[in-house]
Amino acid sequence: MKKKFVLSILFITCVLCLHAQTSGTKESWIGELKGGIRIQKAQKLYWENGFAFDFTSPRLADRSIHLGVSYVTTRLGSAMGTNAIKQDNFLFSPGYFFRHHKQLQPFTRLNMGYFHADYEYAIFDVLPNKAFLFSLDAGLSYEFKMPITISLSAGYNLNTGTGTAGPGTLYPVFYQMSIFYTILKKR
């Protein structure tokens, strides 16, 4: 599995470098930066909410490629005031946005990162509680005239808990909604 992650990261880096090299030297790296909240629901499990940032640049395939980072956790979702397991997801998400000059943009992303579950009691130290996150998601993003963007997507986690390996509360299917505020935009 680790080999797959490394190969994926290498592939994405190569694609990004190639795009950067072919974009010419006149254009600036400064493009568009958005920040906002993310609401995520795993199918038949927890709400995990948090923060997300999205960056794109004219040098990233003329703004077709976006780079995102996000943090979602049950601490801001199902685990607030309940007995749900406290778990955190840290993600880096390169994505490809189609129709990037239009308001409605279909997109697809590859998400990679780190998952951690806090079982709180020493008796459960024998259980796996960390994992690499590796998922794909696809959806629609809508950019309003005001500096707000809403994106909806559904995704599939390729590295879930299996009972014999991996954290048990890492589920396959998830749904996301992100609401972004455009912090910086250079035409």
Binding site: Q43, K44, L45, S78, T82, N83, A84, I85, A117, Y119, E120, Y121, I123, F124, V126, L127, T160, G161, T162, G163, T164, P167, G168, T169, L170, Y171, P172, V173
Partner: protein, 314 residues
Amino acid sequence: MITKNIFCSLQVIILLCLSACSKSPDINNTTMLDGDQIFDPSLYNPAKYLVSVAIANPVTAQKNTPVVIAVHGYSATTFEWDEFRTYADSKANVLVSQVLLGGHGRTYEEFKKSTWEDWEEPIMTEYNALHAKGYTNINFVGSSTACPLVMDLIKKGEIGANGMKHIFMVDPIVIPSDKLLTLIGLVGPMLGYLETPMTPAEEGHYYHFRPQETLKQLMILIDKSRKDLQEGFNLPAGIRMKVYKSIKDPTADAVSAVLIYKGLKNSDNSRIDVEMIDSELHVVTRLNGRDNITQHDRDIQAHVFDDMYKMLMQ
């Protein structure tokens, strides 16, 4: 042209779905529990399995003897607790009542149309019958799916108020190990059923084919249990509970024990007992019918039986 292509594709998909829906399993009636020849023996001879039927008029000594209502898991039968009955019989001071879950132990078709509420019903029936006969020391031991069923009865306040002493849970399921179960509502109708590999010795005691309808019921039950535990609830006063959980369980994810530990507390808000067990088996107390059993597995089974017995005698 494009519209025609889409229409043709849709027709193919619909036909595929319909053909998948109508698929029925290839049941061997002579060897499989799924067929119409092999049934759970408790249906023929309830007196051998149910204390409430076996002892029509219990005397005072019997009423004060610990009675353990042993409940099996999803797709299993009373077979799952046969070894514990043998163990208890050797001690001669514990009675075991092996309950067959509703819809189980019969034909595939009867299993297919059962709901999780049907599965739960016989547990209450036996508990009420024992209670009505005056038993004062009633206990539960449940494996796998029996555990969310018993937790549901506790949450509803239907058991535990009178005469209940201990609840033991062996490899309870709240989180499935196979996470694709969460998609059963979507893929179930296309699959029809799931086939489970098992040894020849298990064939007559476990359903070989699991109807997608019952897998949906299982998902509804464990999802309800997870939500109940998330909110949190307490055991009735005077009941002691212990969970035994295999740490590499291919059926019930070990994290189920974390959810139970966090969500279900004693009446005084103290924590219940949990023991994490170094095993790769699901239901560590059932070894009969399995291949490749090790001495380590036998030691674990003996440990759990001894531990439960010790608590019953306190």
